[in-house]
Structures are given as structure tokens and as C-alpha cells.
Symmetry: none
Subunit: 218 residues, 4 copies
DNA sequence: TCGTAAACGAGACGGTACGTCGCGTCTTTAT
DNA sequence: ATAAAGACGCGACGTACCGTCTCGTTTACGA
């Protein structure tokens, strides 16, 4: 079995040694990237600017990420992780990363969506989330990564909760939960992303009602 | 009232005389912009590239548009207009710009959504539409313009059709059509924009069924 | 005869239109390059620095010169030209660009060499001349250009003066003037370039004496 | 007197312990530096390149030399030393490091200069010698070191030989040998360094003749 | 019908950021 | 304990486009 002295990444460049990576720099880069996106917007956020703000050489960024979009992706991922951990601490003993199940699907979904609305309005989350979404629209690999690492896991929580509701007989058994969740999640996403309408707690409540009960008369 | 020899736009620059504008150049610029977005993608499409390909001076672009996003917006608007006119010719005597009303809402909606799916898969439409959507996500004024000039009018057609369905008693009267349409339009939009899932005729059919009948058992 | 719409330089890049070149920028670049070489030395003089000091975009330098060495070459050539013109004004009616001929070769050569010594000590000339010489040593094309455009013409003046001396019988007819001149010019050049010894009026006087009369006893 | 555990050089850094220096590494660094200068030229020879080629850490270079110029200087000095030792072996019983004295100054000088011409044409010597000369032109301390350690000793040999000639009555007693030698050495040096003309055995022979006999008629 | 003023093509300009290279220092790893 | 390996902060490289600004050259209008 041949020893592999200098492993190469897909780009053909020798892969850097991750074990010797500076944790300090990584944190500073995450912080700088997030702060800049909030302060000056994504298009005016430059790799050079991130490096300067983080007190880091440009090469240190290019060594570990292929583009500013990937930097922001990991920074945002890290931010979400931290937030999730903090949230988990508050509700000790409870399953983290799950939509609560009080027995009332409608109420549970409304609660989660209200929380989501609040989050989408917090500039600290909104700016990077919007930037990543925009980049992903036009950059398919990044878009798919965004889906795989952020959107997907979140959507899975809805799938799980809807499955539970099906078992409880609150949702028809022949419904595909993966599609069903889009009836209330996607409208919110589109209003937020494309300014197709205002978002509010009232609005998401209505979405849940419409989706669960349908538009046609009974 | 004082004579105004060289009227100035809000930017303080003398407004160009639109009457003397070269139609030839405008067309060439539209064609070049759309072609480049399809061929090399939006981020690699540059004003310089558009000018070169259109055989036009850069200033001719900057004279009439403030940014490449606006150029593309108008180019795409123009493209949509042309396409709509062509489509209208095929169905003479019928109201253009409307969702057909056969009396069966579900069928009508499914038909329109199937057509939309086809369009979203045509690279000639997809590339510029995606580019504008992405730009609009991160550039609010442009996003709102995109909504006002393209998305809005399209969505209004759904509102009209849903209103007709309400009058025909096929949809509950207390439903807000502006929100209702999002139950089947937004999921498609999100899957397309964010790669959250595959899009197909089957999928949109399912969306219409779910939306009209709801998820909960009757 | 084919029209040549976009002539290309040897580098394969379209040649810029010299007619539209900014004289203002060129002057500013010359001045900045010379000043920086004097102030911070050649190795610390950067294209970026020249551009910044000249108030010019980097591309304006790269558009017209392939390297900082070539910039400095032309700047120095320009400086020499100006100096020569100023000098020529002072001695109206006299042939410019020539070594004076008073009939006494030894005296004439000593006078020119003394002037050269003075020039080599003037930092405004020394710094760029030294920089170009150094670069030329290790960069053959540039070295040859330096020889062709600066050194060569100067040495030719010695050839001319020595020929006159041969006709006047002050120098043997079988002597090759192109080689002869090196007996007093090259020693000065080497002392200056390589710090092999101090340079002074006395020293160059001695060189002329030794060269004309030889080292062996008569 | 206080014990000094880690003596510090003028730079304030702890002086490395020369006794523990790796002879192996030094040799590898010399070889790599010389080879690179020959192969890619001095400007493209980098400390990183030398280290990589020598299979040595960069720090091992920086520990012992302040710059790539100094590395090359010592490498070249070492090369010259080796060459001189090899040459000395061939002529056993004779004084090493001296210009032969056959009684005929002209012949002896011509012989040495012919050998020098040959050396200057050997790429293994030419490339590093030229590199060091160029660096020395623009970097005064290095230039003076080059003079002190390489050029000076070589020139001294000429001084010695010329003194002998003066005692033998072949050269006038009032001649300064330190200046005299420049009449034939410097022209060769300048032609070589600055491409002011071709170098050949014929050329150096002529230089010796001109220098010894002078240019003026007797 | 002809001048003339505007729009036009071309592209040079002052800039900003790109992604890369090499510097000289510092740290880790594996003898 | 030493030295290879190489990550780091830094600064310059040479390139690509930005948006502005002249340049002549059409072009179309109104005198």
C-alpha cells in the first residue's frame, strides 16, 4: 500500500494540513465575514475586506476556502450551530433539533413558523441567509450545498412532525409530508426572498390554516 | 415656466434624448445580454462583455441603464413580451394574459403550472430569470422592481382565476386569493430557485390537489 | 492590401492606441519612478508605488510598459534628453552631443571624464543609472537595450573624438578607437558600479595619462 | 562575569550554535542555489525554491544567512574555492593563487585574461557571478563584500604581477599598479557585464597591447 | 439642404478587487 | 533537541472590470 505523502485536493493543489490550522484565524474570519455582510451587504463584502477586518492574510482565506461564498456558508453554518446549542441549553432534557409536539399540529406549526418569521427579521441572520440564498440561486453547486447543509435538515424537522401528525390521524395518511410542508414553508420563503409580500405571524398562521384545511369548501 | 434646455434626471446628469435613441443598439444589447447570461452565466456576464458582443460602446449602455442588472431586467421583459405576443397569436379571439377558465379550477391551475414548469426548464428563459431573481434577493430595489414588473402581473392572473372560482363556489369565499395562490406557486418557485427538490408536472399536479383539498382528513 | 484593424504587439495583446495616450500621465509616471528610485532605492520601488505616487491607475503603466525596468529606462532616457537639451542651450551655435575638440585630446578627454564623474555623483542621475545598469546585468534584453539607447551613443562620441585625434596624428593610426576608449571609460565604470575603488577627477586624469602613454617605459 | 546561555547577535535574535550546524544541509543549499541560478536565473531564484530543492526547511536558510544574495555569495565563494583547489592540484609545487611569471608580462597577462574569458563563458560560473555582480551594483554592502571577498583578492594578483614587472623594468616605476590593472581588466568586465561588446581572446590580447604601449605615437 | 448637436463606436483613464507568489517569522511534528 | 514542513501576516504582482471621460464619426433634426 503506497504512502500518500502530499495529498492533493480536486483543484490539483497540495491540500493544506488541516491539523495545523489556526483556530484563532478561522473564528476571526467567520466573525468578520458575518459582520461585513450585515454592515455593507454581500456584494460589497470582499475577500480582501474580510481578511483586513479579521487581521489575517488573504492567503489564509484562499488556503481554506475557494470563494467568499463558501466562507460565508461555513460562517453561517457555524452561527446556526452556536445558536442551536444555546437554544438547546435553555430546554434541557428535551430533544434538540425538533419541532415540539403538543398533540396539536396546527398550533405547533404556527409556533415554529412564528419563530422563523422572527429570525428572518433579525438582521444578524437575515443578511447572511439572504446572501447565501442569492448566491445559491445562480451558483448551482453552492445552492445544492446550502440545501444539503442548512435547508434540508430544517425541512426534515417538518417531515418528522408531519409524520407524527399522520400517525395521530390529524393529517391524511396518503399525503407526502415532504411536499406538504412546502405549502406553508415555501410561501413564507418566497415572500421573504422575493419581496412578493409582507411577512408576519398572522400571515404564517393563515398559511397553516389554509394548508391544513384546503381552499375548497368541505 | 422656464425653458429647460437639458433636463436633468435625479442623478444630476443631463438626461439623454430618448427620441434619438438607437433602436438598433438597444436590440443588440438585449440580445447580447441574454446570450451571455445563457452562455457564461450571470456573474461572468460583464457590461464590457455585453458592449463588445453587441458591437456597442460602453457609454451607450451606461447612458440608458444604471447597471447590468437593469439591462438584463429590460432584456428579459422584452423577451417575455415577445413570447407573450407570439403565444397570443396562436389563440386568436381569446383574452391574452389570462389563465383559461374551463369551469374546472383544478384542471386550469394544473395546466398553467405545467406550462410554467416547461418554461422554467427552457435555458433561454431559465438563465436570465434565475439571474434576475438572484440579484433581486440581495438588491431590494431591483427585487421590488422584478416583483412589480414581472412576478406581480403573473400572480395577478392567479388572483383573477381564483376569484372566478370563488364566485363559482369552487373555493371558499373567506379565502384570500392573494395568499391562496402561494400554496401552489411558491413551492414550485422554491424548488426551482433553491434546488430544494425536483420539479415536474406530477409535482405541480399534486400541489394543486393538496392546496385545494387540504392536508387534514375531512 | 489588407486593412489592419487591431494591430497586435508581440505579446499577442491588442496594441493600445498611442495617439490617445495621456501625456500628463506619462510625465507623472516618469517623475514618480525617478523620485522613488532616488528616495527608496530600486528594489523597493514598485509598480504599485509608482502608480500611487503618479496618481495613476496601475493598468495605465502596464498598458504602456512591460515592467518597472522598462518604465525606468524610458524615464531615465527622457531625463537624459532633457538634460542634454538644457546643456545644448547654454552653448548655442555649437554642435550638441559631441566631445569638444580643442586640439588637445588629453585635455578634452579629461574634461569629459571629470564631468562624467560629477554626474555619477549626483544622486538624481546615480540612482536610476545604477538601477538600470544592475537590472541590465541580469536581464540581457534590457541590458542590450540600455547599451543601444544610452551607453552606445555616449561611447560613439568618444569614438568620434579619438578618430579626430588619429587624423591629427595624436593617436596612432592602427589603434581601434572603439577599444581604445574602454581604457579610460571602463575603469571608471567598474569603480562606480562595483565599488572597486573611489572615483575622482584625479583618478580619471590618471587614466587618460596611462592610456595615452602606456605602462611600459619608452 | 555572567554566564551567557544564549548569546545574541546584533539583530537581537539568539545566535545559532555554529558547531551544531548541519554540513549536509549547507552543501545541499549551495548546490540548489547555484543550480537554480543557472537554470531559471537570479530573479526567479527564491529562498523557497532553494529550500525545496535542497530538501531543507526555510528556517534552516534564514538561520544562517540574511538573504538569498548572501546564500549565493557563499555558494559561489565555495565554488571558486573548490575550483581553485582543483586547479592547484594540476600544477603541483607551484604557488597557488598567483599569476605565473615567465618574465614576459605581456604574455603572462594575456594568458590569465584568456583564462578569464573562458571562465566568463562557462554558464556554471557566469550565471552566479553575474547575479552577484548585479545585486552588488544596487546593494552597496553586498557590493563591497563581493569586492572584499572575491574581486579584491583576484585584483591583488594583478597588482603583485605588475609590481614584479616594475622591478624587472618592464613597466615604468611611477605607475600605480592598482590603477594600471584596470586598463585591461575593466574593459573586459564592462563588456561582459553590460553587453557593450563581444569578448574574445583576441580582444583581451589587444587590451594588453594597448595598455602596455599606450595609444599615442612614440 | 445643410449645419449642428446629439448619440454613437471605441477605448484610455483612475480605481478596486481579484487570486497568486514569495517574503521572513512562527509553530507543529516526527524523529 | 533539532530540523523538515509548512501555516501565518503581509505586501506586491499582473489582470479584469468598474464607471467616467474624451475622442472622432455618423445620424437625424430643425433652421
Amino acid at each position: 500500500m503506497a504512502a500518500q505523502k502530499s495529498p492533493r485536493s480536486a483543484s490539483g493543489r497540495p491540500a493544506p494540513d488541516a491539523a495545523r490550522r489556526s483556530e484563532r484565524s478561522r473564528r476571526a474570519i467567520y466573525d468578520a465575514a458575518l459582520a461585513l455582510v450585515v454592515e455593507v451587504g454581500y456584494p460589497k463584502t470582499t475577500v480582501e475586506g474580510i481578511a483586513a477586518r479579521a487581521g489575517v492574510g488573504k492567503q489564509t482565506i484562499y488556503r481554506w476556502w475557494p470563494s467568499k461564498a463558501e466562507v460565508l456558508m461555513e460562517a453561517f453554518l457555524d452561527l446556526s450551530l452556536q445558536a442551536a446549542e444555546e437554544a438547546a441549553e435553555g430546554e434541557a432534557g428535551q430533544a434538540p433539533y425538533a419541532i415540539p409536539d403538543t398533540g396539536d399540529v396546527a398550533a405547533d406549526l404556527k409556533a415554529v413558523l412564528r419563530a422563523t418569521v422572527d429570525e428572518l427579521r433579525d438582521p444578524r441572520y437575515e443578511a447572511p441567509a439572504r446572501a447565501l440564498a442569492a448566491e445559491g440561486v445562480v451558483n448551482e453547486p453552492l445552492g445544492r450545498e446550502f440545501m444539503a447543509r442548512l435547508l434540508g435538515p430544517s425541512l426534515q424537522l417538518y417531515v418528522d412532525r408531519l409524520r407524527a401528525a399522520q400517525e395521530a390521524g390529524q393529517i391524511r395518511a396518503d399525503i407526502d409530508p415532504r411536499i406538504a410542508l412546502e405549502l406553508f414553508v415555501s410561501p413564507l420563503a418566497q415572500r421573504w426572498l422575493q419581496y412578493t409580500g409582507p411577512i408576519s405571524h398572522e400571515y404564517t398562521d393563515t398559511l397553516v390554516d389554509y394548508a391544513l384545511n384546503g381552499l375548497a369548501p368541505r
